[in-house]
Structure formats: structure tokens, C-alpha cells
């Protein structure tokens, strides 16, 4: 009896212990989760309340807050409530596998009022990724404000529009001016020479008419007059010959005017089919700011995923264990903690619009190297805007391999402005956009493509720099692009998440360049035609001047010389007759 009662006592004690364990199960589970979580992450884990149903393998957690080991003043994750369904089979093998978890009001990166560090020195890990990303964010802001301006300046620098005739000095004009300036002086000089000749002839005639009483003196006088007349004859011949030279010179001037006009025409801008406007630079001007915003949004998504799901090997500071766990030969270790499916919800921004998301995170484990699948987060936008976000974070190897896919067949894009005030400003009305994002990160190297396809686009050119044609071309450009209702942009990313770089191609710049080149060529052609007409007018005027003024003057002078020659001939005959009669006498 004594032994039985002794044993009964022990059984009762054991029963009481088990009863206490059962009653305090929730508290025990809570302490176990907190301790294991803190050991795992190296940061505070706080849980308000725990309800456990071991038979169903379900645990309800309330007010869950897990501090971020990288930044103790932030929570890695917090949720008002969470339900988790454990895999009981795996639990028997000391593997906590959450087959399915749901959260309510889950938040990532929420600030804490108290440090979440387990150690007194809270700043041990606080200076790594977050402060780094903040510093690079400033760099990105600089780039954001700088890139579109640089693109605009580069485009303006590249503009080498053909100079127009309006702005040039015509060679023909200067030649004609020189001709018009030259001929009057020369005619004036020749006219004076003709007048001098006339006066000289008149003087000879007067001397011949004066009678001398002495016959010898009379003969002498006629002999002198005859000699003078001979000299004047030579002078007249010389003058006549010089006037013939004038005719040749006038003909030469005419030829010179024609050749100058031809050279002026040759120097006119040639209207060619080659593009003066570079489509790539135009795309940069038009879309740089918009693409930069999109790229920033998408890179921020990628960064958010990477920061939200930390790399346990790099970011966690697990408490050291006593001894070490031995892996037996032939054994394939599996993760001790694994969340197979965790439902998420949240909000995000993409293409300038806010989206409400819901989705599932798969394969979250602090020991990804022991699991056969990477972490995967699938999000779907709620509402009429269809957006799929699929991110894979592979931490199983030495080198991190992450991918991000974002896809949407149709997103409403609100009206916005394209371009830069320095160069070209285009208003874009409400449109639709299809987007496909495919990015990957191997280690720290970012690469991938983003394809934007815009449709139902309406564009209006508000401003165009004078170098590119100004208001006149802008007005006509609006007519040209009135049929443009879609365009596509392909962005290629490179660099790192903290310092991303990108290049892009778009057919929008090509379409604008084509329209601008057409309009500019048209205008150049018009100006060239005007210039040709102008040249024709100048040439006609100058030839008429030569024909009318120069020829007439030459004719007048020759006529005057002919009449003088006639007088001279008469005087010579008179002088010869007088000399012959004096000799007979």
C-alpha cells in the first residue's frame, strides 16, 4: 500500500506538471517562439498573445513584431495577427514547417519606439544597408534632376540645322554692288576725256580760223594745227579703243554675274533625306524623365523585396549555440524553420499609380542553403488594374541570384508632360500602357529589360526650342503627330541597385525625328526656292543695268567720239588744203 501510494503521489505530481504545461502551453509556445526567433535573427521578437491548437497544428499570434537586426529602430515585419498551420509530421522531426500562414495588417520596415537590438549597443548593425541606400538615394535624386536636362542640352548641342539663305551674304549681291559702283566713275572719267578731246579739237579749229597777215606765219600755223590734229586723232583712236575695252569688260561683268549667281545657287542648303534630328537624342529628351521615374519605381520594388526578405547569412546575427550540430554522412539536412506559403497584402506604387496588392510568399527560411527552392513572392494587384509581380530571391549558393518579373497588360496612365523646357515640351494625354519587366541580379550586378508599350496616346507639342525650328515648326509638328497614337520604349538596366544605370530605345523619338526632318526639309526647300528667285531677280536687274546703263553710255561716248572724229577729219582736210594752197602761192 505504501509503495502504491508513493507511486500514486508521483503520478499525481507528474499529472500536475503536465496540467501546468497544458494550461501554460500558450505561454510556453510564446516563450519558445520568442527565444528561437531571437536566436535566429539576433534581434528582438515580441508577441502579444499566442493561442495554440496542437491537435489542429494551428497557432494564432497577435501583435507580432520582429525587429530588424540591420536597423534596430525598424521592425523587419509586424502584423496585428497571424494564423499559421504547422506540418505535424515535420514537427515530429524538429522541423517547424508552416504549410500555410495568413497575416492581417502586415507591415514591413515600420518604425519602432524602442530599439530592437538584443545588445546594449544598438548601433552595431544600424549602419549597413539602410543608411547605404539612403545615401545612394541622394545620388539618384541628383541624377533624376540632372538626366533630363543633360539629355536636352545634348540634343540642342547636336542640332546642326542648315543655314538659310536669309542669314547669308549673297556673293551676287556684292558683285553687283561692286559693278554698280565701278561703272559710273569710269564713264565719268571717259566722258571727261571725251570733253577734253572736244575742247582740244575746238581749240585747234579756232586757231585754224585765225588769219595771219604774214603768209609764212599762216603756213606755220596750219602745220602746227595739222600736227595737233594728228595727235588728237591718235588720242581719239585710243579713247575709242578703250570704249571697246569697256564693251568687253561689260560682257565680262555679265559673265561674272552669271557665274556668281551659279556659285550662289551651288552654295545654297541642299535638301537631303539624311536625318538632321537624331532619333535617339530626341527619345532621350522626350522620355528621359518619364523613364527615370519608371526605372526608379521598379528598382525600388527590387530593393524593397531584397531588403524586406533579408539574407539570413548576411543580415541576421544568430546567437551562438553550444557545441556544433553534426551532419551525419548520407544525411541531407533540411531547414529547421520554413514557411512554405504566407499570404501577404500591402500597397505599392508603379507607373505613378497606387496599387493594393495581395499575394503569397513561398519558401521563407533562415537557412536557404538547406532548402531546395528559393524564396518566391507572388503579388497580384487588386481592382481593375491588372498587375502581376513575381520576385525570386535565391540565397542557396555563394552568389545571390534574384529575379523580378512585373507584368501588366493594361495600366491607365494619367496625363503628363514629356520632354524638358529647355528643348522640347510635349503634353501627353491619358493613355494606356502595357509593361513587361524582367530584371535579374547576380551578386550585386543588376541587368534586365523593361518594355513599355503605350497606346491611345495623344500628344501636343507645347514648346520647341528655336534651334529646332521654334513655334512655326512646333505648330506644324502638331499636325504631323496628330496621327501618332502609340509608341514603345525598351529600357536596358545595368549597374547595381544602389547605383542603377539604364539606356533606352524608343520609336517615339524616331517618329518625332522623322516628322521634324520632313518639316525642316520642307522649310529649307521653301527658303532655297525663295533664294533662287532672289538671285534671279538680282541677276536680271544687274544684266539689265549692264545692258541698259553701260551699253548706252558706251554707245553715247562712241557716238560723241564719232562726231569728234568727223570734225577732226574736216579740220585735217582744211588744214591740208590750206598748207597746199600756201605752198602753191
Amino acid at each position: 500500500m505504501n509503495r502504491i501510494s508513493y507511486l500514486l503521489t508521483r503520478v499525481i505530481i507528474l499529472g500536475l506538471l503536465l496540467l501546468a504545461a497544458w494550461v501554460g502551453m500558450d505561454s510556453l509556445v510564446r516563450v519558445a517562439i520568442v527565444n528561437n526567433g531571437q536566436q535566429m535573427t539576433g534581434a528582438k521578437v515580441e508577441i502579444g498573445k499566442v493561442r495554440t491548437s496542437l491537435s489542429a497544428g494551428r497557432i494564432f499570434l497577435q501583435d507580432v513584431r520582429i525587429a530588424d537586426p540591420r536597423n534596430p529602430m525598424l521592425n523587419l515585419v509586424q502584423a496585428d495577427a497571424a494564423f499559421v498551420d504547422l506540418d505535424p509530421q515535420r514537427l515530429l522531426h524538429r522541423e517547424i514547417v508552416i504549410e500555410h500562414g495568413t497575416t492581417h495588417q502586415i507591415m514591413f520596415g515600420a518604425p519602432r519606439t524602442q530599439s530592437g537590438s538584443l545588445t546594449a549597443n544598438a548601433s552595431v548593425h544600424s549602419d549597413a544597408p539602410f543608411s547605404e541606400s539612403e545615401s545612394t538615394l541622394n545620388t539618384n535624386e541628383e541624377i533624376e534632376t540632372d538626366h533630363p536636362r543633360q539629355a536636352a542640352l545634348r540634343w540642342l548641342d547636336s542640332l546642326s540645322l542648315p543655314s538659310t539663305v536669309e542669314g547669308r551674304n549673297l556673293e551676287l549681291a556684292s558683285v553687283s554692288a561692286e559693278i554698280q559702283q565701278r561703272w559710273p566713275g569710269r564713264f565719268e572719267q571717259k566722258s571727261q576725256e571725251v570733253n577734253q578731246l572736244r575742247r582740244a579739237i575746238e581749240a585747234v579749229r579756232l586757231s585754224m580760223n585765225t588769219r595771219e597777215d604774214n603768209p609764212l606765219r599762216d603756213e606755220e600755223r596750219f602745220l602746227e594745227a595739222n600736227a595737233e590734229l594728228g595727235r588728237l586723232q591718235v588720242q581719239l583712236d585710243s579713247l575709242e579703243a578703250s570704249l571697246l575695252d569697256f564693251e568687253r569688260e561689260a560682257f565680262s561683268d555679265r559673265e561674272r554675274l552669271i557665274s556668281t549667281k551659279q556659285s550662289d545657287e551651288a552654295a545654297m542648303p541642299v535638301v537631303s533625306t539624311s536625318h538632321s534630328f537624331d532619333s535617339e537624342k530626341l527619345s532621350n529628351v522626350l522620355l528621359m524623365a518619364q523613364q527615370k521615374q519608371h526605372v526608379d519605381d521598379i528598382v525600388e520594388w527590387f530593393r524593397w523585396f531584397r531588403m524586406t526578405v533579408p539574407d539570413p547569412q548576411r543580415d541576421f546575427a544568430p546567437a551562438p549555440i553550444r557545441g556544433r550540430d553534426v551532419t551525419f554522412s548520407g544525411d541531407k539536412p533540411r531547414p529547421g524553420f520554413l514557411i512554405r506559403n504566407l499570404e501577404l497584402d500591402g500597397e505599392g506604387q508603379f507607373a505613378g499609380r497606387h496599387f493594393s496588392f495581395s499575394g503569397v510568399a513561398h519558401n521563407i527560411t533562415p537557412t536557404p542553403d538547406l532548402h531546395d527552392q528559393p524564396v518566391r513572392i507572388e503579388l497580384r494587384a487588386q481592382g481593375k488594374q491588372h498587375l502581376i509581380v513575381d520576385c525570386t530571391l535565391d540565397r542557396r549558393d555563394q552568389v545571390d541570384r534574384d529575379t523580378l518579373y512585373i507584368s501588366s497588360p493594361d495600366i491607365d496612365v494619367e496625363s503628363n508632360m514629356l520632354g524638358h523646357p529647355l528643348a522640347l515640351v510635349v503634353s501627353m494625354g491619358d493613355a494606356r500602357m502595357q509593361v513587361d519587366v524582367s530584371l535579374q541580379m547576380i551578386g550585386d550586378d543588376l541587368s534586365g529589360d523593361i518594355i513599355f508599350r503605350y497606346s491611345d496616346v495623344t500628344l501636343f507639342v507645347d514648346r520647341l526650342n528655336d534651334l529646332a525650328g521654334g513655334e512655326d515648326i512646333a505648330r506644324r509638328l502638331n499636325q504631323e503627330i496628330s496621327t501618332l497614337d502609340q509608341y514603345q520604349t525598351i529600357v536596358s538596366l545595368n549597374g547595381t541597385l544602389d547605383n542603377p544605370g539604364f539606356t533606352f530605345e524608343s520609336d517615339l523619338g524616331q517618329q518625332f525625328a522623322s516628322a521634324l526632318n520632313g518639316l525642316t526639309n520642307e522649310r529649307t526647300q521653301t527658303v532655297a526656292n525663295d533664294s533662287r528667285q532672289q538671285l534671279e531677280q538680282i541677276l536680271s536687274r544687274e544684266i539689265e543695268y549692264l545692258d541698259r546703263t553701260v551699253s548706252r553710255n558706251i554707245e553715247q561716248l562712241i557716238s560723241a567720239l564719232n562726231s569728234e572724229r568727223e570734225i577732226l577729219n574736216q579740220l585735217e582736210r582744211v588744214a591740208s588744203e590750206a598748207i597746199r594752197q600756201n605752198r602753191i602761192r
Partner: protein
């Protein structure tokens, strides 16, 4: 029925207050040593507690011994780790360990940990010597220990005693 309940209550008090035989006290020390040395995140610890409770070991001795040896346990980590590593990496035992690790609940013992296995091995090896040392010591010190403990206000409060003489010691 009332008589039975009274006997159970008396046995319970006797068990708790620890004035059992030197053999039970020595058993208590052995169990406490094992519980104290083995890391407490191993399922071996609660298993040993259950065995200790169901055994005739003195529970007060188990408790006190566990507290003392848990302090010693961390000091022994270099030794237990080395010993455990030797055992766990011993080639011929690999298949056995692999088989054990595949059994349900066994992984909760964390036997794959060098300190757990090393401390288990050390505590098992030390069990008999500790028992053989503890039993004569308790046999000799039991009267003095009993009266000394009963002078303590805490023990009297714990047992609800008012300087009443202890229950007669019954050697089984």
C-alpha cells in the same frame, strides 16, 4: 477513501520535503546532475524530469542538484563538445545516428549536437560514481541536514510545518 487520501498527502509531503532515505537522495542527485549538465533545449531534459518524478528519487535533491550542475554544465562545454564530437563523428556509428535522426521525436533530443551527446555521455558515465559517493554522504549527514533544514523559515513555510518532528525515515 479519506484514509487513502490522507496517506497520499503524507507521502506527498514526505516526498517534497526530501527527508527520504539516503538512497533516494543519492538518486535525486544523479538525476539532477544529468538534468543540469545536459543542455535544456534537448528533449532529454524533460524526459529525465518525467523519469525522476516517476522514480523514487528525492525531488528536492533533483531540483537542487539540477541547479548546481547546470552551472557546472556550461563550464564543461569544451570537454563535452570534444567528447560528443568524437562520438558523433565515429564512422561505424554513422548509420545508427542517421537512423535515429529519422525517427519521430528523436531529433528533438538534439543528440546531433556535440555538447548534448557529450554531456549525456559524461552524465551517464558519472551516474554510478556520483551515486556511490552521494549515498554514504547523505547517510552520514542526513540527521544534521534534516535538523538544519528544519531551522530554515523557508523550508518550514514550504512544508507548512510548525517545528513538528519529521516523519520517521523508512529504509526500503
Amino acid at each position: 477513501m479519506a484514509n487513502l487520501l490522507q496517506k497520499i498527502w503524507r507521502s506527498f509531503r514526505g516526498t517534497v520535503r526530501g527527508f527520504d532515505s539516503s538512497r533516494q537522495l543519492a538518486f535525486g542527485v544523479v538525476f539532477g546532475m544529468m538534468i543540469g549538465i545536459i543542455p535544456n533545449d534537448s528533449l532529454l531534459v524533460p524526459a529525465l524530469v518525467v523519469i525522476a518524478v516517476l522514480s523514487t528519487a528525492n525531488l528536492l535533491c533533483v531540483l537542487l542538484s539540477a541547479v548546481v550542475f547546470s552551472c557546472v554544465g556550461t563550464l564543461l562545454d569544451p570537454v563535452t563538445h570534444s567528447l560528443g564530437n568524437t562520438i558523433l563523428t565515429h564512422g561505424p556509428l554513422q548509420e545508427t545516428f542517421l537512423w535515429l535522426s529519422g525517427l519521430p521525436l528523436v531529433p528533438w533530443t538534439r543528440f546531433e549536437n556535440t555538447v548534448v551527446t557529450g554531456s549525456l555521455a559524461i552524465s551517464l558515465a558519472a551516474a554510478l560514481p556520483v551515486y556511490l559517493i552521494a549515498r554514504p554522504v547523505f547517510h552520514r549527514l542526513q540527521p544534521a541536514l534534516e535538523s538544519g533544514l528544519m531551522q530554515s523559515h523557508f523550508v518550514r513555510w514550504l512544508l507548512g510545518s510548525r517545528r513538528e518532528p519529521s516523519e520517521p525515515v523508512v529504509e526500503n
